[in-house]
């Protein structure tokens, strides 16, 4: 068991509590999506799970061990995290950026082993950016760039990968591309994936485990088809919506109701 768990966790910024007494277990080998309105604490929670943000209370455990008791490099060999604040230094090329994911496996001067090269090559291939290795990252499209960052996290070779809004700046096709890629990694390698997503319907489609947050607490969690109901959407987002089955995937599809469009048909479905 390598479960990553939050136990009675409180998190905040400069005395301002964002999350109070939250419990969450990321199911092993599954895809978990965390959704919720802006400022509900979902990114903060993910940062806490990756030890990027200090806890005000409670603890985060990995396989039962408090992660603050582990050396950072050891944690970085088990839990990978792609934050929103990543910076691609000007002029850096794809191969170099991805190979920096090997850092937690290297000594102080970062000597490269043939093992490192093999892992980097695999990461480049499985994210479909192998032909871009010599290109400067700055010259890539948004979708390609995000794949490169994911390749960097894969080069870290962790069993758990956390991603903070990985699809935010992508158009809808590239969002699907990226989520398909993550699903592939989850299925092929058994990697546990947890990500914060904005797009409710994609979260419902791709997640095995959906966590809906609001105002620093979990409103509901579980299989998307159980969790994503009209009531939950209303409670979490303060949004009137209809929830119908996604005609493609069968997962719940949230159709919001605004001020100007009342529903033509009030379906009985959920």
């Amino acid at each position: 068991m390598t479960n990553l768990r939050a136990e009675d966790v409180s998190l905040g910024y400069d005395g301002l509590r964002v999350i109070e007494g939250l419990d969450l277990t990321l199911p092993d080998g599954k895809i978990t999506a965390v959704v919720g309105p802006n400022a509900c604490g979902k990114s903060t929670l993910l940062r806490g799970l990756a030890r990027l943000h200090p806890l005000d209370g409670g603890r985060i455990t990995l396989g039962g061990v408090d992660i603050t008791a582990m050396p950072r490099k050891e944690l970085a060999r088990k839990v990978g995290m792609l934050p929103q604040s990543s910076i691609a230094p000007d002029g850096v090329r794809v191969a170099e950026l991805v190979s920096r994911g090997r850092y937690p496996h290297q000594g102080w001067f970062g000597r490269h082993s043939s093992d490192d090269d093999a892992v980097v090559t695999t990461a480049l291939e499985s994210t479909g950016v192998a032909e871009l290795v010599d290109r400067p990252v700055a010259e890539l499209s948004g979708g390609q760039r995000q794949r490169v960052w994911i390749a960097m996290v894969l080069a870290q070779q962790t069993d758990i990968v956390l991603l903070d809004e990985p699809t935010t700046f992508l158009d809808v096709r590239h969002q699907l591309d990226l989520l398909d890629l993550l699903t592939e990694l989850n299925r092929d390698r058994g990697t546990t994936v947890a990500m914060v997503l904005h797009e409710l319907n994609l979260a419902a489609r791709y997640a095995d485990h959906l966590v809906v947050m609001s105002a620093g607490r979990i409103v509901a969690e579980g299989a998307p088809s159980d969790v994503l109901t009209r009531e939950v959407v209303n409670e979490a987002f303060g949004l009137r919506a209809q929830v119908v089955p996604d005609p493609v995937a069968g997962s719940p599809l949230v159709v919001p109701v605004g001020r100007f469009h009342s529903s033509a048909v009030e379906p009985s479905a959920r």
């Binding site: 050396p71 950072r72 970085a76 060999r77 934050p83 604040s85 910076i87 850096v92 001067f109």
Partner: protein, 319 residues
């Protein structure tokens, strides 16, 4: 790497061979290997050109390394020892040393310069807390606070004014080998720290969060870098005065040559620092007939166009 080493060798030779006084290369060689006491040519080489070459090497290595470290750790492409207030801290300490304690020899105010730089760095780093913009703002505030204080002291004391005028322009002459003898261990420690930190800077360049997620203790990196920066920039300022632009330009030039890997940028920066400083010094000896321009002046005149060229170039590399 080989090019940078060759360039360094070349400027060292030029620094020993060229100057206001014409001395032929064979005589320079003899001065170094079999000096004749009392022979003016030999005395000039041994007492003037050799010490300023050694001072230039030491201060140049320190400035190139410190500049690379500062830009790497702050992810700020315009950061240098001046921006962080280290030079003004050192300057204030030097004028106070002259004014209050009547210190007039370089070896005397070396330690004051060092302490001044360290004190300024302590303030800037503790308030700036590693946030690039905050560091730059606090550095600017410290400089703004100190500059009028320096003026105030200079108005009080004529002797301080005269000494400061010479020191503040940045020069490799009149320092003597004993300053290097006293300070070289700081440079060695600073350069070793910089070497150890160079790979960490590669991760830090991706952002604090990515570096942390990759298992780096970012706070430790910043603290160690701050120590190395104070050691190196403090020593350089003590040796050669507040030299502008070398610490700023060298990392950019190094990036142009070797790309984005700080392990290489650091090594090349350490070599290009003395190349630029000694070139400035040698040029300063040759530009005016029978007279010299200070290395600090020439470095600024040389550095500005290089900086503009870098800014106009395709990639201004930030971190």
């Amino acid at each position: 790497m080989a090019t940078a080493l060759a360039a360094l060798l070349l400027v060292v030779l030029a620094s020993l061979a060229l100057g206001v006084r014409d001395i032929n290369p064979a005589e320079v060689w003899r001065a170094l290997t079999a000096p004749v006491a009392g022979f003016v040519d030999h005395d000039v080489v041994l007492d003037q050109r050799l010490p300023r070459t050694v001072v230039g090497l030491a201060a140049g290595v320190a400035l190139g390394t410190a500049g690379t470290l500062i830009q790497g750790v702050t992810r700020n492409p315009i950061a240098d020892p001046g921006l962080l207030g280290l030079n003004s801290g050192a300057s204030l300490a030097v004028v106070c040393a002259v004014w209050l304690f009547g210190v007039t020899s370089p070896i005397g105010y070396v330690w004051f310069a060092f302490l001044g730089a360290a004190a300024a760095a302590a303030i800037v780093f503790s308030v700036g807390r590693g946030q690039p913009v905050r560091l730059a703002l606090v550095g600017a505030a410290v400089t703004a606070l100190i500059t009028p204080l320096i003026t105030l002291v200079l108005l009080q004391d004529q002797q301080a004014f005269n000494l400061y005028r010479f020191w503040s322009v940045g020069s490799l002459t009149g320092r003597g080998l004993e300053t290097v003898t006293a300070l070289w261990p700081f440079i060695v420690v600073g350069v070793l720290l910089a070497a150890v930190l160079s790979h960490r800077l590669n991760m830090l360049a991706l952002g604090d969060d990515v570096a942390t997620a990759l298992g780096q203790r970012v706070g430790t990196t910043r603290a160690l870098a701050a120590i190395a920066i104070v050691l190196l920039a403090g020593t350089a300022t003590s040796l050669a005065g507040p030299i502008a632009l070398v610490g700023l330009v060298v990392p950019h030039a190094a990036r142009r040559l070797v790309g984005t890997d700080y392990r290489w940028i650091m090594a090349i920066g350490a070599l290009l620092g003395p190349v630029m400083l000694l070139s400035a010094d040698v040029l300063g000896r040759l530009i005016l007939p029978r007279s010299e321009l200070e290395a600090g002046v020439v470095a600024a005149i040389l550095g500005a166009p290089v900086l503009i060229a870098v800014a106009r170039g395709r990639n201004v590399v930030g971190a």
